[in-house]
């Protein structure tokens, strides 16, 4: 009797972990957040800073966010994921703000699920939708100039490309 009661309590309720922060992101930390004894799969996507854009040498990137709305939009993505893939257990989305040096992570997304297909598809959905709808902006700093970027996924800017 007690045994079943105990099992119930440790069912590992699905959780969303959302964070925008200016410190370095940790892959270990984000993947640990979503690991679950009920899951056999964790899928991750890490967006890293590239050293070049159209032949120009990028020194580093700078990210800005409309923070409160960005968090709201990421919560919406999590809610959509749970509707599309009900077996998904935990979701973690960490996005870095401010300066991000070359090769460091600007975003880490991790999703756990009992079987792998769901977490793989959910991670792909998360990063695609984040790029299309979360109000965060990236400035590329070159050696002697800078440029604000636009995601091709941005839903209201597409028509002009």
């Amino acid at each position: 009797q007690f045994f079943y009661c105990d099992m119930e309590e440790s069912e590992d309720v699905p959780k969303d972990f959302i964070k925008l922060k200016s410190e370095k992101l940790s892959v270990d930390e984000v993947s640990e957040l979503v690991v679950s004894p009920y899951c056999g799969a964790v899928s991750l996507f890490i967006g890293t800073t590239r050293n070049n854009f159209e032949g120009k040498k990028v020194i580093h990137l700078e990210y800005e966010a409309y923070t409160s709305m960005a968090e709201t939009e990421i919560k919406k993505i999590c809610r959509d994921v749970r509707q599309k893939w009900p077996s998904v257990k935990h979701i973690a989305v960490h996005h870095r703000l401010g300066v991000v040096p070359i090769t460091e992570a600007s975003v880490i997304i991790a999703v756990s699920s009992p079987h792998r297909a769901e977490s793989l598809e959910a991670v792909m959905y998360c990063i695609n939708t984040l790029k299309a709808s979360v109000p965060i902006w990236k400035k590329e700093i070159y050696e002697d100039e800078y440029s604000w970027k636009e995601n091709k996924e941005c839903f209201w800017a597409n028509s002009e490309k």
């Binding site: 967006g47 990210y63 800005e64 966010a65 409309y66 409160s68 709305m69 960005a70 709201t72 996005h95 600007s106 975003v107 990063i127 984040l130 790029k131 299309a132 709808s133 979360v134 109000p135 965060i136 902006w137 990236k138 400035k139 604000w148 970027k149 636009e150 995601n151 941005c154 209201w156 800017a157 002009e160």
Partner: protein
């Protein structure tokens, strides 16, 4: 009837930076279409007209395209001008 409206300006794009804005308050009719609201803002900051085709609003943190959609605003509502995003 006019209501005070907190406009949150995202000043990170070149053009919005030129307008020298981050955040300010504007009084507009309580019921107004999103395009009319844009035109009210452009009256105050004419240089924003340059980015008309590149932006949407976020009204109370929900995206609203510039067009015929009627907004019913409350005092203190936050409206942001959102240029193309590039997170990830």
């Amino acid at each position: 009837m006019c209501q005070p409206l907190a406009s949150y300006w995202l000043g990170h794009t070149h053009h919005v930076k030129l307008a020298g804005l981050r955040c300010e308050t504007l009084s507009v009719p309580r019921e107004i279409t999103s395009l009319q609201l844009w035109e009210e803002i452009v009256k105050v900051h004419p240089r924003l007209a340059l980015i008309r085709d590149q932006v949407v609003f976020a009204v109370r943190q929900e995206y609203v395209l510039l067009g015929d959609q009627l907004l019913v605003l409350q005092p203190g509502d936050e409206v942001a001008i959102i240029p193309p995003i590039s997170g990830g």
